[in-house]
């Protein structure tokens, strides 16, 4: 089993996108504020479609928003 996990820079990119709130981002991609919070805290990995929508809203490439990193590194 891979020792990697998905991480994200959602919080930073959200701030850089005009200090967008979790609720605003959630509304734009069709999920709740709580789901955005869960994604940011690493408690939930979004579906592929949701991930693409987030990247689209933030106007960033997908691999800049989400990363597949080694655990602890």
């Amino acid at each position: 089993m891979s020792d990697r996990s998905m991480t994200n820079n959602l919080r930073t990119l959200r701030f850089l996108a005009g200090e967008m709130t979790q609720a605003e981002l959630g509304k734009q991609i069709g999920v709740t504020r709580q789901t955005i919070a869960a994604i940011e805290s690493g408690k939930y990995s979004p579906s592929l479609e949701a991930a693409f929508r987030i990247a689209d809203v933030l106007n960033r490439p997908l691999d800049e928003v989400f990363e597949w990193k080694s655990v602890g590194g």
């Binding site: 999920v31 709740t32 789901t35 408690k43 939930y44």
Partner: protein, 142 residues
Amino acid sequence: MLPQERTAWVWITALCVVFGTYFLFISVLQESAEQVSFLTRIGMLATALTTLGLVAGAEKLIATARTNSADTPFDERDELIKLRSSAISYYVLMAGMIIVGCVMPFSTGGWDIVHAALFAILVAEIVHSIFIVIGYRRGLHV
């Protein structure tokens, strides 16, 4: 706390209290070696189910009035947590029903089988709610 998680907590508590009391009464009555009439048993079961129904209805009313949860969208995370919980509780229920239907008839019968089936459903429901709470608290990774 999301309405879905709150509902799961209410359901866990209500099931444990209502049916814990029910099974306690049943076991006490059986220990006392009294002959419990059919009507008494049905009455107790109906009381337990009615109480549960009232708790569920009250919780739904309170949730709707408090947070306007009817408008809260049910998104992909909620759907996944619900699906995972349902899948796990299905297997718990299936195991219980196999024991009730395929093993118990060879050793016992009557109300023992009824109560065992009820207990299996109860455990499956509690497991369902517990995994909903875990999904929201600890997270869910597909």
